[in-house]
Structure formats: C-alpha cells, structure tokens
Symmetry: C2
Subunit: 338 residues, 2 copies
C-alpha cells in the first residue's frame, strides 16, 4: 500500500504501529484536513472489526466493565482490542479518563490493546464524527473488537451508539428516579442489557424491570416500527435482547457477556442485519460530514464581519433569527422554505 | 399586534394564552415551518425573561430542585415561571417527565406556571434549536423566569446551557466515580453550584471539593481564557461562583439559591456581561439554524436516490466517506479544502 499522504504513513497504520495510530487519531480529533487522505486510504481495509458501543449513566460502573470486557477478550480469546472512551463534556476538560483506566485494570502495556480518550472541540456532531473515524483507523489497523464507551445521556451519545454494530446498555441497582427517564429512551438502542453491580441489593429487581420492559408490547411495537423503517423483512429472525448480570469489579458474569457479544455478531451476519447496520453507519457518517462541510464552505463564502453583524442584529432584537437566516442565505423572505 | 401567521395567533401568545403557547411549542418541537413567522413576530417582544439552565447528572434530584425553584418564585416573589424539561433520549421516548413533575410538586393548576417537556426527533442540534425557540415563546408570552432542565452529560446539554443567562450545576453526595469525569467538563459552565441532598453523608465533602475546584488556578486560568475569547475586559468585575447547599425535598436552602439567581442576573446587567451573553446566545441560535437550513436545502438539490447510492458505495467500501463527500459536493477531489 502506497502512502497517499505526506504526513501519515498508511502502511504503518495498517500494520498496527501504535505511534502512527495515535498521531492519526489526534489529527482526527482536531478535525485536521490532513486526516482525510489517510482515512480514504485506510477505508478499503475497514469492515472486519466488531464495533461495540457501551453506554450507561454515571455510577453504573461502565468504565470498569469496559476494562473487564477487554481483559476477557485478551485473556481467553486472544483478540486485539481497541477502546475509545468518549468524554462528553470534553469541550473544556479534554480526556482525563486514561489515568483511571490504567490504574484499575491490567491492560497497560499490553501491545494487543489500544486505549484512547476522545474529546470534541465544541462542534455539534464533531464527537460522533471523530468517534466513527477513530474506529475506522483501529478497524483498518487490525483490531478485532473496538469498544466505544459513552455516557449515554445525550443526543450525541445516542448517535455514537448508532455507529456501533452492537450496543450494550449498562444499568445498576439503586441509582435514583432519573434513571428511569434515561432508560425510557435508551431501551430501544440496546442489543444487550447489563445489570452491573449485581451483588448489590436491588439488582434482581432492576433485572426484572428490564426484562419486563423488553417483553412489553410497547417496546416490541416500537422496535418493529424501527426495523420496518430500516427496511427489515418481517420474517427476519428476531434477536432476543439478553439481560446479563455482572460484577465488573471481580469479573463475575464477564464470560457470559462476551459470549453474548459474539452471539450478537453471529446473529447480525446470519440474519442479514449486518448489511442494514453497515448502511445505517455509513449514512450517519456521511450526513455528519455533509452537515459540517456545507457549513464550513458557507462560512468561507461570507464577507468579513458578515456573520458578526448578523449576530449583532439578532442580539439587539433588530432582526429575528429567521429573518437573518434568510438574509444570509440570500433568498426571498418566505417562511415556507423547508 | 397583528398576527403574521394564518395558523398562530401572535396576540394570544403575547397575552399568555396557554393553549396557543402549547400549540406553538408543539410546532417548534416538530420543527414545522409554520412556527417561523410566529417566532419572527414574537422576537421583538423577547429579551425580558431570565433564562436559567439547570443541569446535573441523574440522581442529583434536579427535577425536584427545579420544582422548588419555581415554587419559591411563585410563593415569595409572584413572578411567572416557565419550565422546559429536556429529555435527552427523546428520539424514542417522547417526554414522559410531566406526570412525575406534577405529582411531586404543587405547581399543577397554577396559571402563573407553564411546564413543558421537550423532545427531539433525532436531528443533530435539533434539541438546542427547539429549546432556544421554546424559550423565546415563553419570554415573549411574559414569563419572567424560564427554567431549562437538562441532564447535562452530552454535547447537546452543554450547548443548551450556553443559551441560558445563568447556569446552575447540581451535584449530590455519593454518586460514584463517573461523576468526577462529568464534573471536570461542566465546572466551567457553572454560574452557581448546588449541592443537593445536603442532609446526606458526604455533602460537606462534596461542597468542599467544589469550592476547592473553584479556587484552583487551573479553573481560574481556563475561565479567564474563555472570558478573553469572549471579548471580556480584564478589569471586568468577576462573579464569584457560589456553592449553595439545598435539600430540595423539604425546601431547605431554596431562598438562598433564588437570591443567588437574582444576584447573578443583577451582576450580568451591572457588569456589561449581559450583552456578551446575549451575543453568545444569538450566535448559537443562528449557527444552528444555518447548519440545519444548509443541509435541508442541499438534500432538496440532490437527484432522487443520489444520497442512497452514495450510502451504498460507502457501506460496500467501494468509495470512502470523504471521496463520496467530494463527489456529492461536486468539487475537485483535493483534501486541502477546509
């Protein structure tokens, strides 16, 4: 493979050179144009990794769980594992999870593991774009499983989950009322549920509540509607979402969880759902690129100070946001434009 | 005021007609073009409400706190209060918080209170746009304070917080390790910290930890950098972020919290920061409208099936996302385009 970029060595990424992978992901993270030819050169080599999203509210112990999933894959199945940790509040903080992660797990120094925190610099949709692209790099570099950890409470997180083949939703007993509200929205994206901290009081009740939700007609109806919208055949074999109980701190239940991950991957392949997932992932990626590129090019087309003047007019209430929008886009002021 | 829309009665919104307000917000929520002339007609009447964002992780009790803030305003100061509850996982769930809210507070039936859950239908940035526009409706309709409740863990939430004049970040003792990671990113957006559930063990320690973070050079340096980037004068009077302790369930600390809210508003006015906040809000609103409108218009410009074909090429690895992007945008395939 010939390098198509002066800056990045495609071959070194493809053979799993850690330093080159890290450099590439850094370029992706700051959305440098230099990453584009690299990503294009790597793209034909993607498509073999199992992309797994792990999402759950703070306090569910999902970071520990991600570590244990990686450990289980490493110790028992000898697959290479990439971990992308998404820090949703990163516009300010940068990724600070790495230190914690290494301290609490024995993955440090393992050449078959690549761990990276991802931050966004504030652009809407920037995080899901960076995450998808970083996963492409790890995929092309030969990592068999890529674990993407998100907090799972915001729109961005839901979209990142959509870029995975398999989404694990982590719950834990006794986290308070608000959890219920989050659950309501996140149930539909779960391929596997985990009740972590399963040695605590209330774990059984949490697992039963999840099982009940899974069996309720409401969920099934909504899921069928989503499947139909995605073009799924009515006769497609259904995936029965399992509820796994784990104690991530001591590794209880991890073998079963990893078996379920592999089972879901096999299901995606045998049912033909993998193709639909790949299409959904491609679409999400393309739409985000289009949105960002259209906006970037539009900004470049403006006169110096034009955007600032428009903001001033809105802030001072001289012109409404929609009037300003029409003025900037230089079209007739009809609100019927869709 | 003459109605500028066949569908919405601007005058009725301006005099606070609840049914018309609800209809308008529903149109905003589904991003109906019919809402645009209404928003434009209402816009000159906005700018008087105090927009307050309340953000915090699940389990901090912030829904209860929002209720109590509203009750405190209603009982002691006789101001009209609007509440917008953001359900971040709403692409599937729709807003389900309303029932809970009414059950646990005595705001139900109060004509001086308007409560609404907001959902997004899956568009990136859609939630922050809907939230900003719903707040405009309540502002124009004469609500003196608009409380916007978010989970505060995702990029969307951070942006919604940026559309507020005053942002309250709610913490609670003993919520586990992940909280620390969230805190790290959300500290900088806090104008007021609240340690809720202050009657619980560990509340003092949480409050001290927050106070320590506030006083650390790191935060002050970052805050100064942000202020400078926003064009703030170095000699501007600084706002000392207070750490309030509350027990939302019994109302402890609420008077002090509401005093701090009013003090922050007074500070914004006297320091000249209000103008900068208004500009930041206007810019966030305009940028999101531009992003959505540019993408909508681009989609309309495509041939039937063009986007689907592009997605197929990416999913089958025949073409990379960036090559497809360039093809769709019909420009030379140079990666140097910014």
């Amino acid at each position: 493979v010939k390098s198509s970029s002066k800056i990045f060595d495609v071959r070194r990424v493809l053979v799993g050179d850690r330093r080159e992978i890290a450099r590439a992901i850094s370029a992706i993270e700051r959305q440098s144009p230099a990453a584009r030819p690299l990503l294009t050169a790597l793209y034909p080599h993607t498509g073999t990794a199992h992309i797994v999203g792990i999402t759950g509210a703070p306090g569910t112990g999902k970071s520990t769980l991600v570590n244990q999933i990686a450990c289980t894959y490493r110790q028992k199945l000898d697959v290479q594992v990439g971990i992308l940790a998404i820090d949703p509040t990163s516009p300010f903080s940068g990724g600070a999870l790495l230190g914690d992660r290494i301290r609490m797990c024995d993955l440090a120094g393992d050449p078959g593991v690549f761990i990276r925190s991802l931050a966004t610099r504030g652009a809407v949709g920037g995080l899901s774009r960076s995450t998808a692209e970083a996963a492409q790099v790890l995929d092309a570099a030969g990592f068999d499983v890529v674990l993407i950890e998100t907090v799972g409470a915001g729109q961005d997180e839901v979209e990142i989950a959509h870029t995975a083949h398999t989404t694990i939703v982590v719950e834990a007993p006794g986290l308070g009322d608000d959890i219920q509200a989050i659950k309501a929205g996140i149930v539909e994206i779960a391929d596997i549920f985990v009740v972590n901290k399963a040695d605590r009081a209330g774990a059984e009740a949490t697992a039963r509540a999840l099982q009940f939700m899974l069996e309720s007609g409401d969920r099934l109806a909504r899921q069928a509607a989503i499947a139909a919208a995605n073009g799924a055949d009515k006769n497609t074999v259904r995936w029965q979402v399992p509820v796994c109980k784990t104690v991530a701190l001591d590794g209880t239940g991890l073998d079963e969880l990893v078996s379920q991950l592999d089972a879901h991957r096999a299901y995606l392949r045998s049912s033909g759902r993998l193709e639909a997932k790949e299409r959904a992932r491609a679409q999400a990626n393309l739409v985000e690129l289009l949105r960002q590129e259209l906006f970037s090019r539009f900004l470049l087309s403006l006169e110096t100070g034009e955007l600032e003047d428009a903001v001033s007019d809105i802030a001072s209430r001289q012109m409404s946001p929609y009037e300003t929008l029409e003025r900037l886009l230089n079209t007739p002021k009809t609100p019927e434009t869709r």
